[in-house]
Symmetry: C2
């Protein structure tokens, strides 16, 4: 239930067409709420139907033509309502941690390479965030909007920092592990794995 609100936020920051929104979702907002262009177009249609946004009139409103949207008062009100409403954090889901747990049972073979790959991806993301911080939040910029947006960026930076550290630590542990398949004390009847 958050994509429409992500779009409303983006449109309030700047009225845009579907494609422009898609581009902005590839950075900025997309860092913590990703969406494909298909999702965005579908949602734009819904939001227009609900009277939350409207298409700015264009010269030739034809297919394959840019259509820019702006937020209507009802849309702004809905966004304000949603922002203030209490919401429970939704249950964690992390595939990598699950795979590590599985590896404790079926062995770590093959997993290490993918951990390295993830470490590289997180490092890259981290330096991208740090670049944005240098560019958009130099010391001194402290209007309320800036402080809030900076806060969001800090969360991204700190999360990526956490992952790079954790993955580094995990790889160190892997290096110390005896064999690839830690099947020392089988707890189940150990069925015939050859078939």
């Amino acid at each position: 239930m958050s994509l429409p609100h992500a779009i409303l936020t983006a449109l309030l920051e700047k009225p845009s067409s579907g494609l422009e929104l898609t581009r902005r979702f590839d950075k900025s907002i997309g860092y913590f709420w990703s969406a494909t262009h298909q999702q965005i177009y579908r949602e734009l249609g819904r939001l227009e139907g609900e009277g939350h946004i409207r298409a700015l009139p264009a010269e030739q409103p034809a297919r394959g033509q840019k259509k820019r949207y702006e937020v209507l008062p009802a849309g702004r009100a809905e966004l304000a309502r949603w922002t203030a409403a209490a919401q429970d954090p939704k249950p964690q889901r992390d595939v990598l941690l699950l795979r590590l747990r599985a590896a404790a049972v079926v062995g770590t073979e093959g997993l290490e390479a993918d951990l390295r790959r993830h470490l590289e991806l997180h490092r890259r993301q981290l330096s991208e965030y740090e670049e944005i911080e240098r560019r958009d939040f130099p010391p001194g910029r402290d209007a309320p909007q800036d402080r809030l947006r900076h806060l969001v960026l800090r969360a991204g930076i700190d999360l990526e920092t956490f992952w790079t550290r954790w993955l580094t630590h995990a790889l160190e542990e892997f290096a110390e592990l005896p064999g690839a398949a830690p099947e020392a004390q089988p707890r189940e009847p150990a069925p015939d794995t050859s078939g």
Copy 2:
């Protein structure tokens, strides 16, 4: 595509009935891959159909009767394959960060209370993890399985630590913010908000 593998891991650790799995998903594995009993039963049915698990024979196999499952060799092989296969990290989605970003546009009113609530929830989760760490991973336990599982728990602890710190910092910033609605420089045509 991960729930079946979460279930396979849990069943390899210990053959269980649907309800027992549900309970174990409420702690342990559920900390990073939550699932309801409905999901679990449905998935157990699929896994049985695919020949990855089987129901242990019971005396009276009737409805409303415990049915325990164990993993078959094919299931173990599938889990090993999945664990080793490369997987891209899936795009981030964080509602709280999105709301903060929205608040930069429509004002922070009402958001602060929910941030406090989240802070409390994360603190609670953190102390729960730390309790588990004291109980299950005292110094000295370093069989490969233990080290891997400890690593997973450390991720949970560090993530919760990050969130409590970040939320604390965010609340401090809120306290310094001038008004509730930072609408100083309107960037859009500022539509009539009264209607």
